[in-house]
Amino acid sequence: MKPRELATIFYLTLAIVFIFLPVAILVQYSFQDGLVPVPPFRGFSLRWYEKMLANRKLMEALGNSVVVGGVSSFLAVTLGFLAAYGLARGQPRRAGPLQFGLMAPLTVPYIIIGLGLLSMFGALGIDRSLITVGIGHVVINLPLCFAIVYSQLGEHQANIERAAHDLGASDLQALLRVTVPMLWPTLLAAFFISFTLSWDEFVIAFLLSKFDVTLPVVMWNMLNSGLNPQLNAVGTLVFATSIGLVALVATLLLSRGRRHG
């Protein structure tokens, strides 16, 4: 092997270790046969997973997270798609400023968005709940969904829609029979990316929730009573879900790339 290749492999390994070592240790200590998730590792046990599954508060939060993630992501994708479609097919000359306006929220820190929503809901007299958390997640994910879908609505796709119109399709028929099915992989990818972000989002979920909370908020509450291998088990679950969804997204987008290539 050439020294250049060796150096490349060494650097790559280092980078991967740097990124994944903390996660690997978190996962390892979720199998700790002891009361604290610190060295020494006392061998393999599933007791903390058992505890986690028996923990009603945790399981409720898990359900909340799935619902908030699912509903808010569905809304974010739907609104993002409609915005992208309208912008791409409407008046391209005015698209610039609108596109900027729609994507600018991506640069606003979550804590600012959370505080803003908090005072707005307060002013409107709306109580904090999972609904307000969901609205917060739509706010942060809509720009991203818009950007993903907008990038896939190029001139080639416009021509495909033109072909549908040419063959007699109404606007609605072209939208439902051609545009949406054609973008299906993109829409699913946007949904899952959005879901992943909602799934492990803490700041907004913490600020905007009251009695019913999502998984990251429960984890935060549990942290207050110190380190606990059960927390590692929850963390492993959260991480595995995220990684699984990201892998799904990658597959969706790759298969799309192949089809067009």
């Binding site: 021509n159 072909a163 549908a164 119109h165 063959l167 007699g168 028929q173």
Partner: protein, 355 residues
């Protein structure tokens, strides 16, 4: 005479700063294979878009089969388009692509599938019905795009550079098939291309476009052999263009002084006119030629290249200066660089173009 299937009446298209198509009158007869030919930016695709309903004319009316369709969207026009990038529906099978237009017309499923398979057979894609679009080669996609447009039985089929992405051999083959299919269906085809050889090989009538204006309209042979304008003369394949001044004009015969000497042309012109003459490279004859041939002069071969079907040569004429002529000699001709040749031309092959 029967009513034209397509009539463009004083149709023009202007964008903010630019004129895409200058006011244009054009009639296309039913069953005609018309080719709009021109370089990019000549307005040929804009004309196609205005017939198909994808672009609204700035002024003028578009009539199809006698009906004013200027304000109708593409869906309501009796036209179908084959797009340059094919624009197939990527999520559908070949059959569903072809049957799409029929589905929009509420044709029952069994009937439209039968019809789709029939059209696929016509374009040579029998047995491909169940494939996905992404499993097809470029040439096959092209055929699906054609089948999809034919399936709705349009009165006018519009083809926007449909063969542009295919390699040369496949392009030649598809040109022949397009003509075969067009003759068989009897549908009017309006085809856009920038490839003059393609235009000549498929068209009943060629419309040469340049900078938003029609330069020439006519049969391929007429447009090639007797171009109406300087642009047509140089765009329709290689040509020798000679500028000159009319020094004498007697009863339809003009004497023109050019860089290669004085040439006698059968054409109407006034003494003192500045004119342009065109001689196709294959119309230059080596040697004195036969009876009635006009001698052009002697020259020395400066460059040759063998092209298979012919031998292409540059000939530097004796008159000096920048006066090379391009010559196409039969492939069997033995011409070597440095040798001298006598060139002549049939007077009737000389075309005089007004500047």
């Amino acid at each position: 005479m029967a009513e034209p299937i397509v009539r463009l009446a004083r149709v023009s298209k202007r964008y903010a700063e630019m004129v895409a198509v200058e006011p244009l009158d054009l009639d296309i007869d039913a069953g005609e294979f018309v080719v709009l030919l021109g370089p990019s930016g000549s307005g040929k695709t804009t004309i196609l878009s205005m017939i198909g309903g994808f672009a609204a004319p700035t002024e003028g009316r578009v009539l199809i089969a006698g009906e004013d369709v200027t304000d109708l969207p593409p869906a309501k026009r009796p036209t179908a388009t084959v797009f340059q990038d094919y624009a197939l529906f990527p999520h559908m099978s070949v059959r569903s692509n072809v049957a799409f237009g029929l589905a929009m017309r509420k044709v029952p499923k069994g009937e439209r599938h039968r019809r789709a398979d029939e059209v696929l057979q016509l374009v040579g894609l029998e047995g491909f019905s169940d494939r996905g679009v992404h499993q097809l080669s470029g040439g096959q996609r092209q055929r699906v795009a054609l089948a999809r447009a034919i399936a709705v039985e349009p009165k006018v089929l519009l083809l926007d550079e449909p063969l542009g992405a295919l390699d040369l051999a496949l392009r030649r083959q598809m040109q022949e098939e397009l003509v075969r299919i067009q003759k068989r269906l009897g549908t009017t085809f309006v085809h856009v291309t920038h490839d003059q050889e393609e235009a000549m090989s498929i068209a009943d009538r060629v419309i040469v476009m340049n900078k938003g204006r029609v330069e020439d309209v006519g049969s391929p042979s007429r447009v090639y052999l007797r171009p109406a304008s300087l642009f047509t003369a140089s765009f329709m394949g290689e040509n020798n263009i000679l500028t000159g001044e009319v020094v004498q004009s007697i009863s339809g015969i003009a004497c023109v002084t050019t860089r290669v000497g004085t040439l006698t042309v059968p054409a109407q012109a006034a003494v003192g006119d500045n004119v342009t003459l065109s001689i196709r490279p294959e119309q230059l004859l080596i040697g004195g030629g036969g009876d009635g041939c006009l001698a052009i002069g002697r020259g020395r071969i400066s460059e040759t290249s063998f092209q298979g079907t012919h031998l292409r040569a540059h000939v530097a004429m004796e008159t000096g200066g920048n006066n090379e002529l391009l010559l196409r000699a039969p492939a069997t001709e033995q011409l070597s660089v440095g040798s001298d040749v006598e060139l002549s031309v049939r007077p009737t092959d000389l075309v005089m173009l007004k500047r």
